[in-house]
């Protein structure tokens, strides 16, 4: 018996033949909380990793979703972010979990995502250098931690804090998509001592919404000489 990391109910791991072979994975959430998370699988957009089944065919082009097609048309942003992969659909349950981590400050809860995150990392991005999306100094102080950095640390590989956020988050989220795409002032700059030259970089963030934050970060990394830039987020 153990306590679910989210709802604190006591539960028992289902015993299957995997258990006897020692293949059983250590769970942290009860079956109800696990069941409320929607894993992303099946056909996905090759670029941003969102399930294509969620929207009608007219909003796709080959294996790309319309949003990514639009990004790739922009000269400034073309080819910056090679591919993003996300674990779950950003449904109400995941929204609540992420809100509890970010806004209530429950850092421990992030461990619920460790196993699936590691799997995703090993499958697609094994040799990449891991770089979390940073918070501004002010936001980082408010929260006491950076959730993207906590996620990156779950991977048990060296984490490189290569970026600094220079523009406060609120100012960014108030902008429309058009403004974000046209943005002239960079949101991120490189930490001077860190070199990403000729490296493959894997960015880590909690949510992929419009993709502009990740592309802004990719911009700074590309200028500093990074080869390929990909990303993992918890939610899409």
């Amino acid at each position: 018996m153990k306590h679910c990391l989210y709802c604190d109910q006591l539960y028992i791991d289902e015993v299957s033949w995997r258990f006897f072979l020692g293949l059983n994975e250590e769970t942290t959430l009860c079956s109800i909380c696990r069941g409320s998370l929607q894993e992303i699988h099946g056909e996905i957009c090759h670029c941003c990793g969102r399930p294509l089944s969620l929207f009608p065919e007219k909003y796709r082009q080959d294996q790309l979703c319309y949003d990514c097609v639009r990004w790739e048309k922009e000269k400034n942003w073309q080819g910056l972010l090679t591919k993003n992969r996300s674990l779950y659909i950003y449904n109400d349950h995941l929204k609540e979990m992420i809100a509890r981590i970010k806004y209530r400050g429950d850092a421990k809860l992030i461990e619920a995502f460790q196993l699936p995150l590691k799997k995703l990392f090993k499958k697609h991005f094994k040799d990449y250098t891991v770089v979390p999306i940073p918070l501004s100094e002010k936001r980082h102080y408010e929260r006491g931690f950076n959730q993207a950095e906590l996620l990156a640390r779950l991977l048990d590989v060296p984490v490189m804090n290569a970026l600094v956020r220079t523009i406060h988050e609120e100012k960014q989220s108030k902008k429309s998509r058009a403004e974000r795409i046209a943005i002239k002032h960079p949101i991120f700059r490189m930490v001077e001592q860190q070199s990403v030259h000729s490296k493959n970089i894997l960015l880590i963030d909690d949510v992929y919404t419009t993709g502009s934050t990740l592309r802004q970060a990719a911009l700074a990394l590309k200028k500093a000489g990074a080869t390929t830039i990909c990303s993992i987020t918890l939610a899409r």
């Binding site: 400050g105 421990k108 102080y141 931690f145 950076n146």
Partner: protein, 500 residues
């Protein structure tokens, strides 16, 4: 934020980092829990405390983030002996406990690399995390300066209703206890009018300049009590506290609060009423007791209100440890409807075969024919959904409602207005919701969720109005349980006492 310690005239002093010059500080800044022991400053008589801060903080235990005043302002009050800083997470031989919620369960503490205090492992409490994080580096701020009286306007009761003789007796006994330390239980049947029983005692307490709190585990009850108490105490500052309440920052002379929100208070109230003490199972009871014990002053009068006291409370009453009074009669004077038991066969199997149990079907049809509204209680949400679908073929207006239902409020409102003829529900509606001219059926009354107290509460929904005192209550079952029999006995014995 980190803190520094320094010596001032031989005394250990502490200050938030940045408020004291580096030369003065004895050591580099550290996390709050690593500071050397220090004493609060003695109160400076010539200091004029900021009345807004005093009002905000008095009787509470708050995080810096919860106090809308500058750090400098708060610390000036510290230096003049009006506030003190205390550890939020207490460590004792490697075991942690939370100063705010009383949690001491190991699995509900965790740590993280903290950007504020720069410690690799800053321990925090996960139990009360939804109220804002208490960690080792964030002290709780407590007011120790002059007490705040709330302006002490006269608190007159503006109510001219009449009490029944049983209510009057309970009201008088409760009022007699104001100003005296101790506990008192009012055991009142559902529909006895227990809120009115409080008025006299609350008025007496307020007139003595005391601070009063009515605590209940349920937000629904806070929302129901708040307008009533505001109306009968028009000169008193009455505030309601529940998750998301806007009045959290105000000072209340009379505070109606969920037990959860009470956790922010300490040594604040002279008279505390705990409504629906038994509304949650024992596990919840512990944190409820902690919250109440912490929020009340040591010398406070503590009163419990309930229709169904727990076994533990009954034992204490029998032993004479807990003084109590019974109100065995409803305010309208009619006896409580006594539930009937009816065999309903293996209803679960019927449902699995997509069929309605026959007795339920005929009950619903009867209700619709008689044009009487009805509650149909069921044990679980999946059963609720199946049954509701079935019943909607009889009348599309029939609805099901459960605790997580996003339309819960609206549906209950529609039932109150008579739009919904039959409402299918889990035990969430066992308390509080009163609609005249209703009958009650419980499907699967043998299920474990239907304890004696739950069944008594459910039965208490019927016959609430004096124009319809004889609502019908039926327990449909697949095997009688002790809980069902006890519930019926409970109601019968209350009726007997009521008519002695």
């Amino acid at each position: 934020m980190r803190f520094v310690s320094y010596l001032d005239k031989g005394k250990v002093m502490v200050a938030p980092e940045g408020l004291v010059s580096i030369e003065k500080a004895k050591s580099p800044p550290v996390s709050f829990h690593l500071l050397p022991p220090f004493q609060p400053e003695p109160y400076n008589e010539s200091f004029k405390p900021n009345p807004d801060l005093q009002q905000h903080l008095f009787g509470k235990l708050l995080l810096f983030d919860e106090i809308p005043f500058s750090l400098e302002d708060i610390h000036t009050h510290f230096l003049n002996g009006c506030v003190t800083y205390e550890k939020g997470i207490i460590e004792n031989n490697g075991r942690y406990s939370c100063r705010r919620c009383g949690n001491c369960e190991k699995h509900l503490f965790a740590s993280f690399a903290c950007f504020r205090c720069k410690e690799e492992q800053c321990v925090y409490c996960r139990k009360c995390i939804m109220m804002g994080r208490i960690s080792q580096c964030t002290p709780l701020v407590r007011w120790i300066g002059p007490s705040y009286s709330g302006g002490q306007k006269k608190s007159l009761l503006n109510w001219n209703g009449e009490l029944s003789s049983a209510q009057r007796e309970a009201s008088r006994q409760l009022a007699d206890r104001i100003g005296k330390r101790g506990e008192f239980l009012i055991w009142a049947v559902c529909g006895a009018g227990k809120t009115e029983v409080l008025f006299e005692a609350v008025e007496k307490s307020l007139c003595m300049g005391q601070r009063v709190c009515i605590a209940t585990p349920r937000t629904d009850v806070v929302l129901e009590l708040l307008p009533r108490l505001k109306a009968v105490f028009p000169q008193t500052k009455v505030i309601g506290l529940y998750g998301g309440s806007e009045e959290r920052k105000e000072f209340g002379q009379l505070v109606i609060s969920t037990t959860h929100q009470l956790l922010r208070y300490e040594q604040a109230f002279d008279f505390v009423v705990v409504d629906e003490v038994d509304a949650f199972p024992f596990s919840f009871d512990k944190s409820l007791q902690f919250a109440v014990q912490k929020a009340k002053k040591e010398e406070a009068t503590l009163a419990y209100l309930t229709a169904t006291p727990s076994t533990q409370m009954k034992k204490r009453m029998q032993k004479g440890e807990l003084a109590f009074i019974k109100i065995p009669r409803r305010y309208h004077g009619f006896p409580l409807p006594v539930p009937k038991m009816k065999w309903c066969g293996n209803w679960q199997r019927k449902l699995n075969h997509k069929k309605l149990p026959e007795p339920i079907e005929s009950w619903v049809k009867q209700q619709l024919e008689k044009r009487r509204q009805g509650f149909l209680f069921v044990p679980t949400i999946p059963i609720l959904q199946t049954i509701t679908e079935h019943l909607q073929t009889f009348d599309p207006q029939i609805e099901g409602v459960h605790a997580e239902d996003p339309e819960r409020k609206e549906k209950v409102e529609r039932f109150r207005k008579g739009v919904i003829p039959i409402i299918v529900t889990t035990t969430i509606l066992e308390r509080g919701v009163t609609v005249p001219f209703t009958d009650i059926a419980v499907l699967g009354a043998e299920d474990d969720v239907f304890t004696e107290s739950a069944l008594v509460q459910i039965s208490g929904r019927a016959g609430r109005s004096k124009d319809d005192p004889n609502g019908e209550v039926i327990f449909y079952h697949y095997g009688k349980t002790n809980a069902m029999i006890q519930a019926i006995r409970h109601i019968e014995s209350m009726n007997k006492e009521g008519f002695l």
